[in-house]
Every structure is written in structure tokens, then in C-alpha cells.
Amino acid sequence: MKKNLLIHFTVPVLLLVFGGVLESSAQIAFASNHQIPKEKEHQETSNSIISLLKKLEIIHQVNFVYQKELIEGKTFPISINENDKVETILKKVLAPINLKFKKLKGQNSYTILPMKGEKTTSVQVEFIEILKASSVEIPLTADLANRKTLENLRPNLQIIAQPVVTDISVKGKVIDNETNEGLPGVNIQIKGTKKGVNSSSTGEYTINVADKSAVLVFSFIGYETKEVIVGNRLILNISLKPADKTLEEVVVVGFGTQKKINATGAISTINTKELVQSPVANISNSLVGRMPGLFATQSGGEPGNDGSKIRIRGVGTFSGNTDPLTLVDGIQVDNYNNIDPNEIESVTILKDASSTAVYGIRGANGVLIITTKRGKAGPPKISYTFNQGFNSFTDMRDMMNSADYATNFNSALKADSYVTGAVYTPRYSLTDIELYGNGKDPIFHPSVNWADVMFKKVSTQSQHNVSISGGQNKVRYFISAGLFNQEGLFKDTKDLVDAFSPQSTFRRYNIRSNFNFDITTRLKATLDLSSQTEVRSGNNGTNTERIVGDVFRASPLSTPGVVDGKIVNIFTGSQNNPYVSLLYPNLAGGLKRSYRNYLNGSLRLDYDLGSITKGLSTHANVAIQTYNDQQITNTKTLITYLAVPINGGPINGGTVNLVPSTTEAQFNFAQAGTFNRRITAEFGIDYKRSFGNHNVTGLLLYNQQKTYDPALAFLIPKGYQSYVGRVTYDYGGRYLAEVNLGYNGTENFAPQKRFGFFPAYSLGWIASEEAFFPKTKAITFLKVRGSYGEVGNDNIGGSRFLFRPTSYLPLNFNNNTNAYYFGNVGSTYTGFTGLREGATGNPDVTWERAIKQNIGLEMRLLSDKIRFTGDIFMETRSDILATPQTISAIVGLSQPASNLGKMENKGYELDISFNDKVGNFGYRIAANMSFARNKVLFRDEIPNKYEYQNRTGQRLGQFFGLVADGLYNTFEEINNPNRPVYQYANNKIQPGDIKYLDVNGDGLVNDFDAVPIGYSNLPEQTYGLTLGANYKGFDVSVLFQGVGNVSHYYTRFQRGTGFGQAPPEGSASYMNQSWTQERYDAKLPINFPRFSVNSGPNDAGSSFWLADASYLRIKNVEVGYTINGSLLKKLGISSTRVYANANNLYTWKKILPGIDPENTSTGDTNTEPYPLVRTINFGINVKF
């Protein structure tokens, strides 16, 4: 191990040190080259080949293209007849000096090339063209074959024959060839030298060149680079063409970028424009519906706690972690949701093995990469954004009022008495029900709508962001500061408890500065510093879900809530009083404030090792992240009162006495904190080079990461070591091949099992580049790609270090290490510590391994108006960590976790967009759809009595239950001798009970009739549809998002009346449509079985309570107007955009009202998610 490491380390270091040395010696060599005036040394003589070629151009009306170095100073000793055939002359002249020529296709031009085997001396292949006496500036590109301008050139011998020795001052203006506006900050460099200038803010420049043959290189990000020979001109006006985006577009891949057209992996990206459209705090929430392959579920809307759960291509394992690996600018982060969307350039997800294999044991769940914005050379650009948003709940469950509640409670008791054989005794008298209904006794017969009492209608959120970017050639910067403020929807409680408000609030401060330094032409540095500070305030309970749960759990009649500014109960014993839950949650009481700070710094150096061999570069990167969290809690006992009626209470002319139930106590203060840090270091060697039609890139990289977290077992930091390799190859931009290798280690496994090797292979074919491919507008681009590879997952669940031998543990229980007490209680008792068998070790435990396959098709149709990407994928995950299930419990041992599980996951993704412009009206339709279905192949499940009950072979989380076939309505149906016998409710079935199917036909309805019903609670389908249009300054876009193939099992609160609970709980108003004889006789709609307190067959898990949780949402709408007036320009404002956008505007769903389909809670716990919010937002963006 140690040896290995040393080798791995010394190699790159040696390379680096050598690289440095070589670099310096190379510099000297070059310097001497450059310092000697070429013209003096290589004065062209009459028998120089250059002179000859120039003559031939005139005589034969041909053009020559060549690399100057090849023939500079070369002569031909033999005599030549200049009127011979050009090719004959060339053969004679070039062969002796190891050169050859080639006629360029379809033109009267020749290029001169070295013979095979002859190495060029130059570092870079540069074509230089013999000058013509034309004042037109000539674009020079490597692709001469396509160049048409050559034909128009007219030779002019005179100019060439007279070399100029003195400096020439050239001036000009650089403009955009579409807008004709001056381009500031364009880099103008004299080719082959380090000399260069930048264009001014108006696009003008002046540069001194040595001679007329000097070549000026105009380069600017986002534009095609242009090379122009100065020639005779002193004024050179240049128009730059914006780069063809489709050719230049790059995609972010693991440890680097690739040209999008060359990528063979399955990758999706969205950029800043779409991200900032969503007025949300979390990036995860703005990704929803916008990227194929991304499944997101947002299960709550609480400020600061509303992020979506992201799954890439669904879920492939039933154990451990299914979160994707998340990286910001190449550095792994645990929380990406706190980044200001305004700082982000793009978000990319890597989906298949080809793109994720380099992450090895971290990559199996996919990878999400966030790239932040960087500065571009130019004057400072200042952008300020302000958003003001208004939040309200998307939906709220309407609850039963007290009169209905009491009436229904009585019907429940009545129905249950049939089952239990009890005598029906109503709980609420008719007088009670009347008082509940008429509100005449608000204290002792209340009817409280708790949601109205506890929640506000609207709360606000606001966001400010200012960013400045710009720079010169050598230093570029992007700095940004943001503030986000969000308030929750609980009502103010200041009048009840003046000490604090347990309202959920969230405030975030973001600061980022990204710097790029070009220290030398070869050495570049990047420095990124960012911080996210979060301030949360809220109740000091276990969670807000419990409080929301209590709001919907409280019955309307259990307490009037607040009387005379005092929190009141009217019954003794345990109560659900939402005020108590909010102000004194879980008896912990009070207020919790939390201050979280994330500090991230990253330094990266890139060094061009072109001096060793062309195309070689190296980089090193060190990043340090720290996170600390301080929690301050202020607690205080809540004073509640018991209302006691005096002389029959107000309704009988008496009074109310409020008796304190608790006594005042002092404030308590406590604080807790945590501190985490992570250090990541990386060293890599990149290689990129073209040999004719062969384009090769390579990457060798070492990466290590260590996370220090006080919560980690044994306080041992968590480390990763990765060796990464990648080779890509393309031939002529048509045939693509790529090999990615990851070799990763983690301390989570036994020393000999720590490292795993994860290779992936991919191939691609760009058919549209083939000569035979018809060049029509119908299909402008066609690429087919496929990948196969292995990826791992080391987050396999269970505790850390499962490989350790079986350990014994001291028994520790409720912080008491005593296992048992002997002796007399209170006098002679003695605690005895305990020792017990702990986790059973398994030395063989290792990572999960996923084999992923992917085939993709990319097309652009109708002159690129339609773009289409389609992928199908299939993944098999093996070695999933699970506990053997089939060993009898009589061994008295918790069996060790083993890598025994197996699962598959397959599906497809489609992404299609259509862009067009009719006059000033541009519009866009984009749709994406993803489908992923998984299946558990093996998990050592105990075989069920009936095979159809096995979970193996089903999708993960598949719901099982009885099949409900409506309700029984009459005793006639129930007394039918053919009705299956219910093992529920002792077969005492009555009208209003659910009719279950006897699936296995044994005459009994029991748990053996539970079969797969519906889907799981993770959607299998997700889709998004974006419609966008712009007309002059106006723009509008709408995002529809939806999911399908997903089920939700109603929780106890949602499906029940809560009558059977102690104390009785509230019930949704839709439950009023439960079966009663009266409703049935009156033919009123009946949606639910009869009421019940706790006796009946209707609570058995069945399809009756399983909802189709698919939905379609207007996830986002945005309308904007951009002002580009001259008035603004006078104010120094370059553009202003005002806009309004909205999130979660409307939802079409099939689930019961008041329940969000994304609510994934499945258990019958006492919690409910904080409902999702709808945000309506107004914003302005000003650019200076």
C-alpha cells in the first residue's frame, strides 16, 4: 500500500518538476529563436523555394498554402523551367528536402506537406498563406478545403518581394458581424510572439507590427478566432463572427469538459437562465421538469427545509444511499441547495457509466455537477437582481366542523357496536351537537378550524443579488453577493407568548468570488472563494412536520384554543392542542435558532506542458470546505389553563374559571454546535492533440478527499482516494471512442478490499459527418452513441466498518450503562453494567457494483430547428448490502450484513425541442420525458406462502394490499353465502364496509389476499414541457411538469376519522362523504366506508386507500420585458429586465383535496409535511 502510493505520487511530481525545468529551458530556446531577426538570416534568394512558389503563382494562376517554417530559407540547387507543369516542378524541388505536395480538392491550390515520418519542428501547425494584393482581410482557418475566398484572390508579387523591416502601426476596430457593434476586450496578438493588445471599450485597437507579413490573431470568447495578415494595410477593420454554438458547445464531464458533439456519455445540462426563472431558495427545486433523467420529489415547503429529493434515473438499490454525488466546480459538496442560483452557470447531470465511471465507488447513483460563473475579459459588468415573492400554500386540507364531527363520531360508535356486540351509547348528545353547530357555547362547545387559526394566507420572500464580472486578459473575475429571505406561514403568536415567535424563517447570505489568473502563457490559476451563511429560526421541537401534523390532528372540539389571551384546554388528560405543539413542541418548548456557515475555498493551477510534447498539460487543485452550525435554543414552560364551568358555564348563565395547569418557570438557554471540514486535493495530467484526422485526448488524475465530521463513527475522518484515467479518440469527427477508468479506495472496507476498479467504454458515430450522408436541411446532425461500464456505490447503508470482527458492546440504554439492577429498590439496589454481542462482522463486505448500459441518439432536424436526444438505459446493481433473511431466529444472533442483493433498473429518456423565429417573434417548445423502472432481483427474502406475495421480482417499494371492489351497501350482499369470510372484524361485516376480493380463492379474505397494488411512491415517469416565446423585448415561458406511475397510501390522518385515537383526532371534511344508511338511501355521493372508532375491516391495507399520485403542474411561469433604450444608456444602464414569475401555480391531480401528490410520507406517524407553497414573484434585473 505504501509503496503503491509512493509510486503514484512520485510520478506526477517528477513530471511536474521536470515539466518546470523543461519549461524554463524551452523558454530560453524559444527566446533565442525569436530574438534573431528571421529576415536577416533568411533573406530570400532567387533560388529560394518561396520565391519560386511566388513566381509559379503568377505564371500558373495557382495558390500555395504552406507552413512557413517548412520552406523558409530552403533553396533548390537545380535549374527549373518555370513554365513546366506546376506539379512536375514541385516534384523536382520538394523531394530532395523531404517535402511533398497535395492538390486541394476542387481548387487550383496546392498545399505543401512534410513526407511521412518527417517531424515538424514547429510546436503548432500553422498555415500561412502567400499574400495577395488584396486589401480584404482574409480569414484563416485550418480547414482550407472549405475555403472559398481563395479563389477570389489575386496575386501581387510586388508586395511580397519587398520585405519591410521597420515597425508598422496598425489600427482598426473590431465589430460583431451581426450587430455591427464594437467589441471591447478582444485580444489581438501577433502570431508567434507574445505581443498583444486588447481592444478598447468601443472595439478600437492599435498595434505595432514588425513587418507586413505579420499575422494578427483576433480572439474573443464566444466568437470564432480570426487570423489576418497585415499586408499593406494600416487600418484593419475586423468583424468577428459569433462562434457556431453547436460546434463549440462544451459539456461538463467528470474532471473536465468535452465538446458536446464529441461526447459519448449520457449527459444533460441546464443553464443559469432557466435556473433563475424559479423563485425558489433551492437549486434542487428549480431543476424539476427541466432535465431528462432527473426525478425530483419535494416533500415539504418549510422555509430552509424545502429541498427536493433528487434521483438520477430513479433508484437502483434497496440499501444505503440513493442520492447522486454532487459537485460544485469539481469539488464534492454535501449541500448544494444553499448556493445562490445567480452564481450558477450551469447544472449538469451525468447519467451513464461512461460519464460516471471516473467517480468509481461514488458514481453509481449518478452525478450532479454545478458550474459557477466566471469572469470574461472586458470592462466590469454589474448586474443587480431584486425579487419580491409572495408565498401561500398550494393546497390545504379542509377539516370537519364540530357538529359533523360529533354526529359522525356517534355513527361510528353505532356501527362499531354491531361488530363488538356492545350496546350503542352515543358519545355526544343532541344538545351537544346543536351547541357545536350554533356556536352559542364557544368555550365548551368549540368548532375550531385549526388550519385557519394556525396559518396565515400569505408570507413574503425576497432576494437580492449583485454580481460584478470582467477583467483584463490576464486577470478575470466574477464576484457575487446575495441575500435571500423567506418567512413561514405560521401566524404570529406574539400576543400569546411575547418572548419569542416560533415562526419558521430562513435567511441566507451568499458571497462568491471566482478569479482566473493567466500568470504566464503556460501557467494559469483559478481561485474560487465562496461562503453561504444560513440563519434559521423556528420552533424548538423535533421538527415542524410534527406541528403541522398536530394542526391536522387536532379535533375541532377538543379545545377552543385561546380564551382571553390564554391557551386553554377544556378536557383533562392528553390533548392535541396545536398551540401547545407550536409553542411548546414535544414538551421541549420554545425557540430554536440555527446559524450555519459554509466556507469554501479552492485553488487550481493549470500548467501547459506543451514544451514536453504538444497538447500536454497538467493541473493541481486544492479545496478546503468548512461547515459549522451553531444552534441556540431558548425554552420556557408554556402556561396553559383548564377552563372549568362555574354554575353550568356561560350557556347556563354561569361563568368560566381558568385554572392554570402549569407554573411559570424561568427561561432556559442552551446551545449546541457542530463543525465539519473537508479537504480535497487533485492532480491531473491532460493530453489533447490532433494528428491529422486522429484526435486524441487523455486524462490521468489523482484525487483524494477527506471529510472530518464529529458525527462520523469512531471520529475517524472519511477518506476517498481515486485514480482516474480517460482516453478519448475520434477519427475525423465521425468515429468516437472513449475509455474511462476509475480506481477508487475508501476506508469503509477491509484493507485488502478497499480499492475497486471501475472501467467504462463508449463508442459514438456521427453519421451526419460521413461523405455519403445526404447534406440536406432535413437532417443536419445525427449521432449514435453507446456505453457500457461499471460504477460503484460505497454508501451502502449500515454502519461504518462492517468488516470489523464481531464486537461486544457495553449495554447502553437511555444513557445508562447499567444492564440490570439487583438489590432492593431505593436502598440496596446496585446497577450492573452489561456486555452484549454487538454487530456481527463480515470481513468480505464491499461496495455495490452497478453495470450500466446506455444507447443514445442525437439528432438535429430542419436546419437545427428541431433537436432531439433519446437514450435507453439498463442498469444491474449487484452486491447490494442486505442482511440474510432466511436464517432461523433460533440462532439468537443478528446476522451480518452481506453483499447479497441484486436489482435492475431500466428505462428511457427523450428530450426534444423546437426553436423558430418568424420575424421578431421567436418561440420555443421543449419537452422531456423520463421513465425508469426498477426490479428487485434478489434479497434473500423469506419465501412467502404464496409466490405472488414475494417482494423479490417487484419494483422497490411496491405497495401490497387487498384489492378493494367498492363497498357493501346492503345486508343482502353481506348475507350472500358466496361472500368470502373475512378474517377481519371477526367477519362481522355490515353495509358500508369495503368489499375485498378473495384473490387466492380460498374462501377467506385475509392477509394472504394482499397482492401488488399500484406502484411505489417513487414516480416511474417524469416529464416536463416548456413553452416559450419572445417578441421584441417581451418574453414569456411556461413550464408544465408532471409525474406518472406513482402511488400514495393515505396516512392515518388522511384516510381516517381519528375517532379511535386517544385523544380523538380531527378529520378531513371530505370524510363527510362516508357511507351512512341515510346517505345511501338519499343516493348522495359516497366515497368512503362507514365511520368507525376502531372496530371494522376497513383499516386493512387495501387498494381502497391507495391513491394514484400522478400529477401535472404548472410548475413555473415567467413573463418578462427587457428595456434596451437609449435613455437607459445615458444612465449607464445597458439593459433592464422586469419580470414576474410564479411557481407551483396550478396542479391537476387525482389525489384527495388538501393532499399534495408529492407528499411521500407513508407511515402512520404523527407528522405531516409542511405543505408546498405557491410563490408569485416580481423581479427586476439591471445591468450596468
Binding site: E23, T420, L605, V622, L809, Y821, F822, V825, S888
Partner: protein, 599 residues
């Protein structure tokens, strides 16, 4: 240029020094506490013994072993009530989540048995594994003397016998596990016959008794004594002689008749009753020779309950369960309170079964009239509770066996200092959900204030031996004088008159069963006795109409009277297969267990 080289060198040297530590990836800490450590010192051995007691002792309250269960199969929120609310002893009507209700509703199933009754199913096997380990390795403990080693082996054998008895009474024959199995290896040990299991239990006890001390020092009270082992033996032999197992055929036959030996002896042998009687006699003799006895202070045989919001004198019967480690207790689970609450269990038991009308508690147990009818009057006569009802409930209660008022909270009773007068009548706060008409209050002492109070959890008591002896004698030899003596000792210490002489064997049997129900009320006996005697199907025992009292307060303060009228509050279900528990469904599907009949 030099700067650049320097910069890179510094950067990468730091990178190397950072990563070329011995190993970049940390080593997991070694495991320094393994099985060997248990047997390294006597002190460690004692810790291990404490653990075995923790897992191996059962509790009549069936505490949640919250957060303490290595097996994920156990839902630690379940099974929170004493078995009282399963049988005619009680009704847990306040909360639907009390799983004992499932028995009354007839929805006990193989896949919920662990949650509705046998929550120790998995824990027991852990204890048995630990016990086998002690027997295998105790000799390795270097600083333990032979006497200690013998005592430890005897203790674990006692605990093993007790756990097997707990299993056998639930399931019949179960697999005999007397060794330590390897991890990850399939084990296919089948069920042993009922007879072999009984032999295994008796053998363990016989081997344990000679090596167990008669008593411990005060600080070790609660460990297994010879008295405890002798008592368990009497209990085991009584079970073996009982109608459920001591018969030619089981109540329901197994699918494969040859498997009936798993759940029955296959014949009736009166000698089994003889053995049981002898064992009980031995136990009684050993008890009186070693200071165990019934609490029988003549002055306190019939305490006067004041029923006016203050406590009266403490009766013998109440003392026997309300005071910790009294002379009547043979073995108790030693729960402990300490500052800040309970240190030995998750939630204190009183939280679960003290009625919620008395504070923050979950679900009280009300006592059905079916059971109240068993209380004789103070003269030893049956009491009639007419369907038409009566006008003076207080007087009715006053006429009952003194043990009635010591076992339950009734109208106007003193419950605790925070609720001095129980308002059990229509409109009274303590009547809601009190379907039976009185609340179970045994093990909720009068001094009780908060839920954190933890009573002694008596597992074995002297009074049960008298009843075992009387029962076994009557079955083996008829109602002989010694049988009378034994049962009358129990009755007399609560000022109940002797049983009339000249009863037939059957009459004596019925009187004895009634006496056992009253004397051992709420002590986790009734549910098992009903099964042992095969009387679950009898009307009103675990099946049929369950009645309560409608109680109405009449008159004006302070001269209230209380009228009563019986009403049916529920009809219960008892299926014949209930006599034996089903094995957990998942365990049966693993292949080595044959499921009990009817499940």
C-alpha cells in the same frame, strides 16, 4: 520562472505529505471488546450475567424494551400492556393501539403474534445463545473460583428453564438450542416434542437447584435462588399435568397426526398431577424453611377502605404486591427508579395501564363484570349481579371479598393523592371508557404520583405455590385435607372463610379455579390458566358477551348514591386455535418450524 517552480514544488510537497502518510485511508479502529473479553475476568463475567438477566427474565407487565433490541423484527412500540386485558380480567378500551385488543377482536395472526403478545420471541433466543455461551466457556474465567462457576452455570440453567417454560406454554414443543451457532450459517433444528422440552426444563432445574444459593446479600436480591428454581419446577410440572397437554389428543390435531407429540403428551397420566403436587409440596416446605411465607398479619386481613379521599390501612393482600421485595416474593424483575426517571426500562409500565383520566397515561384497563362476578361476598357466597341492576353500588362493593377493593379502583375509591376520589359514574371524569365499571389498579400503589413510579415486577410468589399444591392434589388424589389447608391459607389471610368441607372433586376444582383467578388477579396467570384448563371457549371467559356496569349518581351532595345496571359492551371471539400461539409467519417460512394447528 523560479517562482513558478517553487510554487509547484511547495504545492505538491504539501499534497504528498498530506497523502503519503502511512496510509491516506484511515484504519478502522481495532475491535478491542470481543467474546473473549467476557471470560477474561470475573467482573466482565458479571456484566455478561447482568445482560443475560436483562434479556432472559420476563416481566408480567411486558415492558417495551425500547431501543434495546438488536433484532429489527421487533416493533418496540408494541405490546405494552399486561396480559390482563386479553382475558376476562380486563379490557383495554381506551386506545385502539393496545394490541391486546386484537385478541378480543379475534384478529390474532401468525404475522402479528410478536406484536400482540410474544414480544420476547426474538429476545429469548438471544438470551439462550448467551446462556449456551456461558455454559461453554465459563471455565475459562481465570479469577473465578469453582463455586462461582457452578453458581453461574446454575443461574443460566435456571434462566434457560424459565425461558423454555415461557415458550412451551405458548407454543408447545420448540427447538432445543443448547449451543452457540456460527453467523451466516443456516440452522435447521426442528421442534422437539412437548415431552422432550419438559424433560429439558426439568433437567436444567434439577442441575441448577443444588448449586444455587438459598439467598443473596441484600445488594444481590433478584438473582436466581434455589427457591426460585424449585418454584419454576413446580410451575412447569403443573403445566405438564394440565388438561391442555396431559391428554391423548390436543384440542385441535396437527395436520399430520404424528406431529401431535409436539403439542401434547399423547396420553393422560394421573401421575403427572402427582409429580406436580410433590413438586409444589417440596417448594412450600423449602419456602417455610428459608423464610418465604404469605404475608398474613391477622390485623390486616380485612382493611377498612375509607372511600373518603384518604387512605385506609394497608391490607395483607395489598402489601404482598405493593411493597418491594417482601417475604412473599420469590423472584422479581428488579426495576429501579432513580433521579430523572426510569433507568431500566423505556417507558415505565404505569404509563401504559394507568387510565388516561388520571393524567398523562395511555390506556387504562377496566374490569368486566364477568370477572367482578367471581368475587364472593365476605361470607364466601357467590354474589348475584342482576340484569335489572341495583340501587346501591357502594354497599354492593362493601359486601365483596376484601381483595376486590385492594385490586381495583371503583366508584369513590382512593386512587392516588392527585385523584383522591374516583369519579366513576355517568358524567364523572373517570368513567369515560371505563366500560367494565371499575379500573384495574393492581401495581399502581397508593403512594404513586408520577408515571415514573416503577413497581416491583413479581415473577414468582409464594401464594401461587399454595394454589398449585391444592390444584395438583385435588387432581391426583381428590379434595384431600391438605388441599383444603392450602387453599384456606390463601383465603384466610384475606379474611375469607374456609371452603365448605365435603366438596366433590369437580366442585373443589371450580372453587380452586375461582380462587386462583381472584388471588392471582393481574399477575399474568389468568390468561395462561384459561389456556391450560382449556376453558377459553366457555361463555364469558374469553368468548361471548362481556358486560360492564352503567353507573348513575343520584341524590345531592354529600348524600349521593350510585345505581348500577349491567350492559354488554362487547362480544369477544375465541377460536380453538388460540390455545396455542402461532409461530411468527416469517419464522415458519424459513422451514424448520411446523406451524401449530389452526394457524
Amino acid at each position: 520562472m523560479k517562482k513558478i517552480i517553487l510554487l509547484f514544488t511547495v504545492l505538491f510537497c504539501s499534497l504528498i505529505s498530506f497523502s503519503c502518510e502511512q496510509n491516506f485511508l484511515d484504519k478502522a479502529p481495532g475491535v478491542d471488546l470481543v467474546e473473549d473479553n467476557v471470560f477474561l475476568t470475573k467482573a466482565n463475567m458479571e456484566s455478561f450475567m447482568a445482560t443475560i438477566y436483562r434479556y432472559g427474565m420476563h416481566s408480567i407487565f411486558r415492558y417495551r424494551m425500547q431501543g434495546d433490541i438488536p433484532f429489527s423484527q421487533v416493533n418496540n412500540t408494541d405490546c405494552i400492556h399486561p396480559s390482563t386485558s386479553i382475558s376476562d380480567e380486563g379490557d383495554a378500551s381506551e386506545a385502539a393501539f393496545v394490541n391486546n385488543n386484537r385478541w378480543n377482536e379475534g384478529v390474532v395472526l401468525p404475522n402479528n403474534i410478536v406484536n400482540v403478545e410474544d414480544f420476547r420471541y426474538y429476545i429469548r433466543w438471544i438470551a439462550l445463545r448467551q446462556i449456551a455461551l456461558v455454559i461453554k466457556r465459563v471455565n475459562e474465567v481465570p479469577d473465578a473460583d469453582e463455586a462461582y462457576k457452578k453458581q453461574v452455570v446454575a443461574e443460566v440453567k435456571f434462566l434457560r428453564a424459565m425461558n423454555y417454560l415461557e415458550m412451551v406454554k405458548r407454543y408447545g414443543g420448540v427447538p432445543i438450542v443448547d449451543k452457540v451457532y456460527e453467523a451466516g450459517v443456516k440452522v435447521d433444528v426442528p421442534r422437539s416434542s412437548f415431552e422432550d422440552c419438559m424433560k429439558f426444563i426439568v433437567k436444567d432445574l434439577d442441575e441448577a437447584i443444588p448449586n444455587l444459593p438459598a439467598a443473596y446479600s441484600a445488594s444481590l436480591v433478584g438473582r436466581a435462588t434455589a427457591m426460585a428454581a424449585i418454584t419454576v419446577k413446580a410451575k412447569a410440572l403443573l403445566l405438564a399435568a394440565s388438561p391442555q397437554f396431559n391428554s391423548a389428543t390436543p384440542p385441535i390435531s396437527m395436520t399430520n397426526v404424528t406431529d401431535n407429540k409436539l403439542i401434547s403428551y399423547g396420553n393422560y397420566d394421573v401421575n403427572r398431577w402427582k409429580l406436580a403436587a410433590d413438586a409444589a409440596k417440596t417448594a412450600l416446605d423449602y419456602a417455610s424453611a428459608n423464610g418465604y411465607a404469605l404475608i398474613d398479619d391477622v390485623a390486616n386481613r380485612s382493611p377498612k377502605e375509607l372511600d373518603n379521599g384518604t387512605t385506609g390501612p394497608l391490607g395483607n393482600y395489598r402489601v404482598s404486591w405493593e411493597t418491594n421485595n417482601n417475604k412473599e416474593l420469590i423472584l422479581s424483575y428488579q426495576f429501579t427508579t432513580s433521579t430523572g426517571g426510569i433507568t431500566n426500562v423505556g417507558n415505565p409500565p404505569v404509563t401504559f395501564f394507568n387510565p388516561s383520566c388520571f393524567g398523562s397515561f395511555w390506556s387504562g384497563i377496566s374490569v368486566p363484570l364477568n370477572f367482578i362476578r367471581k368475587y364472593e361476598d365476605t361470607l364466601g357466597r357467590a354474589v348475584s349481579w342482576d340484569a335489572t341492576g341495583g340501587t346501591d353500588l357502594i354497599a354492593k362493593y362493601r359486601s365483596l371479598d376484601p381483595r376486590f377493593k385492594q385490586s381495583v379502583t371503583y366508584t369513590n375509591a382512593y386512587h392516588s393523592s392527585s385523584d383522591p376520589i374516583a369519579q366513576i359514574y355517568t358524567g364523572g371524569k373517570d368513567y369515560v371508557n371505563c366500560k367494565g365499571g371499575v379500573w384495574y389498579r393492581k401495581y399502581i400503589p397508593r403512594s404513586f404520583r408520577t408515571a415514573n413510579y416503577v413497581p416491583n415486577d413479581p415473577i414468582l410468589r409464594v401464594n401461587e405455590l399454595y394454589l398449585y399444591y391444592a390444584e395438583a392434589l385435588n387432581e391426583s388424589s381428590g379434595p384431600v385435607a391438605n388441599a383444603y389447608t392450602a387453599i384456606n391459607a390463601i383465603r384466610n389471610r384475606s379474611k375469607m372463610p374456609n371452603l365448605p368441607v365435603g366438596l366433590t372433586q369437580e366442585q373443589f376444582r371450580q372453587r380452586l379455579r375461582n380462587e386462583s383467578a381472584i388471588e392471582l388477579y393481574g399477575d399474568d396467570h389468568r390468561f395462561w390458566d384459561i389456556k391450560r384448563w382449556l376453558i377459553g371457549e366457555d361463555d364469558g371467559v374469553m368468548k361471548g358477551a362481556f358486560e360492564g356496569l352503567q353507573i348513575t349518581r343520584v341524590g345531592t351532595a354529600p348524600n349521593y348514591t350510585y345505581t348500577w345496571k349491567p350492559y354488554t359492551f362487547e362480544n369477544r371471539v375465541f377460536n380453538k386455535n388460540y390455545y396455542l400461539h402461532p409461530f411468527p409467519q416469517s419464522e415458519v417460512l424459513k422451514g424448520n418450524l411446523i406451524q401449530n394447528p389452526g394457524w
